[in-house]
């Protein structure tokens, strides 16, 4: 009987037994990211193990190493919350000095990256360390119990952006760290999603193989913080792509004019000019994404807030050079 080659290595670096919540999308992201990294190191250096990890405090840190256990089968260091990129810089410098070839993977959540770790991230990118920074974006401080971060999307409920008589929930648009990272003119920046694992793995490998710093922002569902069904994590993440909420793109060397945008699927019509995506006509309304999550439940009594969200999404795509049309339900 013919055995099909698995689409990704069966080696595990993020081992079962970690204490993440059931249905955690970030755990999936880390599992795929480390496998992709290992494959890239094997292809580039002939050594699948040529990497180490520096990780910020956060959900994926707390659940991974509780003394005397660890889920990591790779050299790993956690040095507080705001400085995964700085710690990774030090590890990378020492690797160089000690003559060890390979690449360092830094990992942080959206709080540890978009907020408290922004400065350290900027420093690491600017200094051109040979580090891939992976931001797992579950769009709030989930480890401390669901508080808003600057990466929390407009309209979302969190414990520090509760909707009420005078509040629609989070009232600021999401901050897109990938664009800030790209402005450092580093070799490679990408957004990805667990809703498209093949695209995510390809991007992680690309990031791992470039010489110099790279940044990948991966969207991952958090059933606990998003109040969403445990079994629908990948489906929800995919809906974010298909409705226009989560753009998938790649920017090399800060060249915003030659940004590569991946087709979102879900029936969306993509218009290209000279190979460049200039317009997308989405077919699925964002309500399909929002309705599966308790964090957006209150918005269905405030349709004007959902329309405002559509305007913000259009504005975000405009920054990427793409005109989008977003349907309303039934359109």
């Amino acid at each position: 009987m013919a055995v099909r080659k698995p689409p990704i290595t069966t080696r595990e670096y993020w081992a079962p037994g970690h204490a993440a919540c059931a249905g955690c999308g970030c755990a999936t992201a880390l599992k795929l990211a480390t496998k992709a990294f290992s494959e890239a190191m094997e292809e580039k250096y002939g050594d699948p193990n040529a990497f180490a990890i520096a990780q910020a405090t956060g959900c994926m840190e707390v659940v991974s190493a509780v003394f005397p256990y660890t889920a990591w089968k790779v050299p790993w260091i956690h040095v507080a919350f705001e400085n995964a990129a700085a710690a990774a810089s030090g590890v990378e410098a020492a690797w160089k000095k000690l003559g060890r070839r390979g690449k360092i993977l830094a990992i942080g959540g959206d709080g540890g990256t978009a907020d408290i770790g922004m400065q350290a991230l900027s420093g690491m990118l600017e200094r051109r360390h040979n580090v891939v920074y992976l931001m797992y974006d579950n769009e709030a401080y989930m480890n401390t119990g669901i508080q808003r971060s600057s990466s929390t999307p407009y309209g979302a409920w969190t414990t520090t952006s509760p909707p009420g008589k005078y509040s629609i929930g989070e009232d600021k648009p999401k901050k897109w760290v990938a664009l800030i990272a790209a402005a450092h003119q580093v070799p490679y920046v990408a957004t990805a999603s667990i809703g498209n694992p093949f695209d995510f793995v390809r991007k992680m490998k690309r990031a791992a193989k470039v010489d110099g710093p790279a940044f990948v922002q991966v969207h991952c569902t958090c059933p606990t913080g998003w109040k969403s069904p445990l079994e629908k994590g990948v489906e929800i993440a995919r809906l974010a792509i298909e409705t226009g909420i989560w753009p998938l793109f790649e920017i090399e060397n800060g060249d915003f004019f030659n940004i590569k945008i991946q087709a979102p699927g879900g029936g969306a019509k993509v218009k290209r000019e000279g190979g460049r995506v200039v317009a997308i006509e989405f077919k699925k309304p964002i309500e399909e994404y929002l309705k599966l999550q308790g964090r957006f439940k209150h918005l269905f009594k405030r349709p004007e807030a959902i329309d405002e969200m559509r305007e913000q999404i259009k504005a975000m795509w405009k920054v990427l050079g793409v005109d989008v049309t977003l349907p309303k339900p039934g359109e």
């Binding site: 003394f67 260091i77 040095v79 810089s89 990378e92 000095k97």
Partner: protein, 397 residues
């Protein structure tokens, strides 16, 4: 053993620190500029630019990231050095705990500088003494020679497997950092004999034995981690003396004692303090001796670990101790005064002790000031009791 012929150089305290790091063959430096430390890292950048060393230099964007990068590099297995002062040290505070808790033998030079506000760049010890409880060893240098020697010894002590703790070498702002003096440097091959390459227990380069650094510990385990660190700091006392003795045997300058006594044999009054001001105090002791005062001086070299036994032995012999504190703990008293009184509590030693708060924010402290303190202390001794425990010595009235 090769015969020791020192290389004499006229250098600032900061350059002494940079040469110390160079001769210690540090492998990674991550640092951020801050007055009055900056010329240390400038000098190291110059060494690299001139091809004298291939240190990996990480010019980070803050002191917090400086120490985070040092921790990453040290955990990876490299010999790591950095330098800072005052505001920078305060920003690093969180990472100082992280370095010691991870048991990493990082060596840092701190140029003592007063903390703001009001803004100041001048000498004061409160910045480093505020880091008392971070689990770092602290050595206070009296002169540029001690800065250089201190850096070399600190690596050997910190990397000793009985210790595995970071160490801070403390020098005074400007008084040492920017003042040039003759420093006897040690030829590289002799430094290498004294200080072999680091031999870490664990590294972040060994994939076959991957380690996880910085895990969570529940209440069931955390307590023992702290106990082990406390015991390492206790063991450091023995290692400090061993290394200090070896240094003396090899290079002629003995550091086998955690405190240095000066003309204390028959002294009625002993002045006690740390850092560069002890040079002034020793000078004053010579003057006062000529004037008929029976005085001596005690320099506390190592503040952490604290030289408890040595101070007890001293306090048994001496009727009166005047502590000169270039620092202050609000709501209490000078920090060295407080610590040294504390170690005598459960003992039979009961000298009269007074605390003189001097030189804050870089105010000049001179031989004449020591003379005034001596007169005041003499009166206290004659009365046989301490009336005013803490004296704000320089106050403009």
């Amino acid at each position: 053993m090769t015969e020791y012929k020192p290389i004499k150089k006229v250098v600032s305290g900061n350059y002494a620190a940079a040469y110390g790091a160079l001769h210690a063959r540090v492998q990674v430096v991550a640092a951020y500029p801050i007055t009055p430390q900056t010329s240390i890292i400038e000098k190291i950048a110059e060494f690299i630019a001139n091809g004298e060393t291939d240190i990996q230099y990480v010019p980070v964007e803050s002191e917090h990231s400086a120490m985070a990068a040092c921790i990453g590099a040290s955990a990876t297995g490299a010999r790591v050095f950095t330098a800072t002062a005052a505001q920078g040290l305060a920003l690093m505070h969180e990472m100082l705990h992280w370095a010691s808790g991870s048991r990493l033998p990082i060596v840092m030079v701190n140029a003592n500088r007063a903390l703001a506000p009001p803004w100041s760049v001048w000498d004061e010890q409160t910045d480093s003494l505020s880091q008392r409880d971070t689990g770092w060893m602290q050595f206070y240098a009296e002169n540029n020679q001690e800065v250089y020697d201190g850096v070399l010894m600190a690596f050997k002590i910190a990397e000793d497997k009985r210790v595995s703790l970071p160490a801070m070498i403390v020098e005074s702002a400007f008084i040492l950092s920017h003042t040039y003096d003759i420093v006897e440097m040690i030829p590289q091959e002799l430094v290498d004999e004294f200080l072999p390459p680091r031999d870490p227990l664990y590294t972040l380069t060994d994939f076959d034995n991957p380690i996880s650094v910085g895990a969570l510990a529940t209440p069931n385990d955390y307590y023992e981690f702290r106990y082990k660190e406390a015991m390492a700091m206790e063991r450091a006392k023995k290692v400090i003396k061993e290394v200090g003795r070896e240094f003396g045997e090899r290079f002629g300058r003995d550091y086998s004692q955690m405190i240095e006594t000066y003309r204390t044999e028959d002294a009625e009054i002993v002045f006690m303090g740390m850092g560069s001001l002890m040079g002034t105090v020793k000078e004053a002791v010579d003057v006062l001796r000529k004037e008929g005062y029976k005085v001596g001086a005690v320099k506390v070299r190592w503040f952490r670990p604290f030289p408890k036994e040595e101070l007890y032995q001293l306090a048994k012999e001496v009727p009166a101790i005047a502590v000169v504190d270039r620092n202050f703990s609000f709501g209490q008293e000078g920090i060295l005064f407080n610590e040294s009184k504390g170690v005598l509590f459960n003992t039979d030693a009961r000298p009269l002790m007074k605390d003189y708060i001097v030189g804050l924010g870089g105010r000049d402290f001179t031989v004449n000031d020591v003379r005034t303190i001596a007169r005041d202390m003499k009166k206290t001794l004659e009365k046989g009791k301490v009336k005013e425990e803490v004296v704000w010595y320089h106050l403009k009235r």
